[in-house]
């Protein structure tokens, strides 16, 4: 039986896939990893899931040409503002060229297969593509 695992635990593979933040019950600050308490208010009231919109604006980016061994280059890395919550991600379906990228451009969440392991488990990665591009999968 085939199964899937998300690249990160804050990516849910529903239809449509979404990124999920952990929101502090006391102050509303949002995080993506397991928390011991809130870094914003220090509160220990706990956290609730907050589903983030699938589309947002590119706040900043870089095109990485020199990376650690095993990381394919060049690739576009950026920060995306999803309705007031910032997320870090790669950009996909876009040429790694400054002329193809604009600060503030609209982008949307895309998922893609990262390959299947020996047990038949497929890892699903995510990135953001220009919202204006046609609807097609990521190679």
């Amino acid at each position: 039986m085939s199964s899937q695992v998300p690249l990160v635990s804050y990516l849910t593979l529903g239809d449509p896939p979404r990124l999920i933040a952990r929101e502090c019950r006391q102050c509303g600050a949002r995080f993506f990893d397991r928390r011991n308490a809130c870094a914003s208010c220090g509160g220990q009231a706990g956290f609730d899931d907050a589903v983030l919109p699938g589309e947002g604006a590119l706040r900043t980016f870089t095109i990485v040409s020199v990376a650690a061994p095993g990381v394919p280059v060049p690739y576009v890395a950026g920060v995306i503002d999803l309705g007031g919550t910032s997320v870090r991600a790669n950009l996909v379906n876009v040429k790694p060229d400054p002329d193809a990228l604009a600060l503030g451009m609209r982008v949307r969440l895309r998922t893609f297969s990262m390959g299947t392991d020996g047990d038949g488990v497929e890892a699903i990665g995510f990135g953001f593509e220009p919202a204006a591009t046609t609807d097609q999968g990521v190679a």
Binding site: S9, R59, T60, V66, V79, R88, A89, L103
Partner: protein, 402 residues
């Protein structure tokens, strides 16, 4: 009224490749140089603060003592990423301010020649290897490269472009940041202790190897070996010294260390601005100095993109006015407010543990009128700034003895 602290002696080694010297050799050279510069010996020192980031777990302070004098004094081994040197300096200053010591020694040292990209290690995945979630993000592959970038050139590239997003810029970012780098490489030609002293044209900088757009290789801080050290003294002890020995002392008008307060997005892309603004505000207030009073600034240009935003963070310009400040020519050596006359981290080099004392050494050279070819004439007040990602910000404001 807390004790005023002074720099009595200060020394910086040549930055660059030192294949024949280990960490302890470099630290010893800087420490002995600072002691000689201050006219004191290791037996006069009552507290030692030593900083090193990549040299391993053994205490660099005690290793240094084994070479230059095991006197039994308290040793604080400190680390704070690229703000490690400033943290060592501040640790010694705090001990003096607390009244626990009259004289202290702060040393920062690093060996980084040929270190390559810092902060990322890379992984190789075998065919069919199980996808196994791990760590706090439950990730099945490295975050770096799959979920944005953790490379330093890439992180600071985004920080620079974010500034141009928040304060729209009509020109080409690559050319803007290359011009900042051109300035610092030009400055380095007058600094014999810099790792690289080659003037580079705008074309050369723009067309060099692209590391992380818009940062090309010459826009990145240069990994190298080096050390710097300072002898700190209380005002009371300074007054007991002969006039000739007191003459070159430099006043530490402000010594501030901050960490990054929580901000939206700060755990997604490091926020190196808020903690710098807070440190700058505290430092100006402590020193009773206005940004307009500064005669020179050494700021943390770990990448050309970083220098731009710190003009704004250090309040050297009106909010949002960093590009205008640079375009005015003010930050060139012959400008109104010279920035990184040493050549900055892009050409002087960035042995990370040493940087936060080396920038203080540079300011002292000018305040003492010993800046040689690159002397800023009549310099009376200078500011030294470092950022350690994670994050820590150290700022020292220094003044010429009256």
């Amino acid at each position: 009224m807390p004790e005023t602290v002074w720099i009595l002696g200060v020394h910086m080694t040549k930055f660059g490749k030192h294949p024949d010297k280990d960490l302890v050799d470099l630290a010893s050279e800087a420490a002995l140089g600072a002691l000689a510069d201050g006219g004191v010996s290791i037996h006069d020192i009552q507290v030692l603060a030593a900083g090193n980031v990549t040299g391993g777990p053994a205490g660099i302070g005690q290793q240094l003592q084994k070479q230059i004098g095991q006197t039994g004094i308290p040793v604080y081994n400190v680390t704070n990423a690229c703000a490690t040197g400033a943290t060592a300096l501040r640790t010694a200053i705090m001990a003096i301010k607390a009244g626990e010591a009259d004289l202290g020694l702060a040393v920062g040292v690093e060996k980084l020649s040929g270190a390559g990209l810092l902060g990322v290690t890379g992984t190789q995945r075998g065919d069919g290897e199980p996808w196994r979630p791990s760590g706090r993000f439950g990730n099945v592959a490295p975050m770096d490269g799959w979920v944005g970038t953790e490379t330093m050139p890439g992180v600071f590239a985004q920080i620079g472009l974010q500034y141009l997003h928040d304060h729209p810029y009509a020109g080409a970012p690559l050319e803007l940041f290359a011009r900042i780098s051109e300035k610092n490489h030009a400055h380095s030609t007058l600094n014999p202790l810099a790792a690289y002293t080659k003037r580079m044209s705008l074309d050369q900088i723009m067309n060099d190897v692209m590391v992380a757009y818009p940062n090309t290789r010459p826009m990145c801080s240069a990994n190298c070996d080096g050390a710097a050290a300072a002898v700190l003294i209380s005002g009371a002890a300074l007054r007991r010294l002969p006039a000739e020995q007191r003459r070159r002392a430099v006043k530490v008008s402000a010594s501030v260390l901050t960490s990054d307060p929580w901000q939206e997005a700060c755990q997604v892309l490091p926020d190196v601005s808020t903690l710098t603004r807070q440190a700058a505000a505290a430092a100006y207030e402590a020193a009773g100095v206005d940004p307009a009073d500064l005669d020179l600034v050494e700021l943390h240009d770990c990448f050309a993109t970083a220098e731009l935003i710190h003009y704004d963070n250090l309040m050297l310009c009106a909010p949002g006015g960093a590009v205008d400040l640079f375009d005015s020519g003010a930050t060139w050596r012959d400008g109104r407010l010279p920035v990184n006359v040493s050549g900055g981290l892009q050409s002087k080099g960035h042995p990370i543990g040493a940087t936060g004392i080396a920038n203080v050494w540079e300011i002292c050279q000018h305040l003492r009128g010993e800046g040689g070819q690159r002397q800023i004439d009549g310099a009376r007040v200078g500011l030294a700034h470092v950022i350690g990602l994670g994050s820590a910000c150290g700022i020292h404001i220094l003044e010429k003895a009256v």
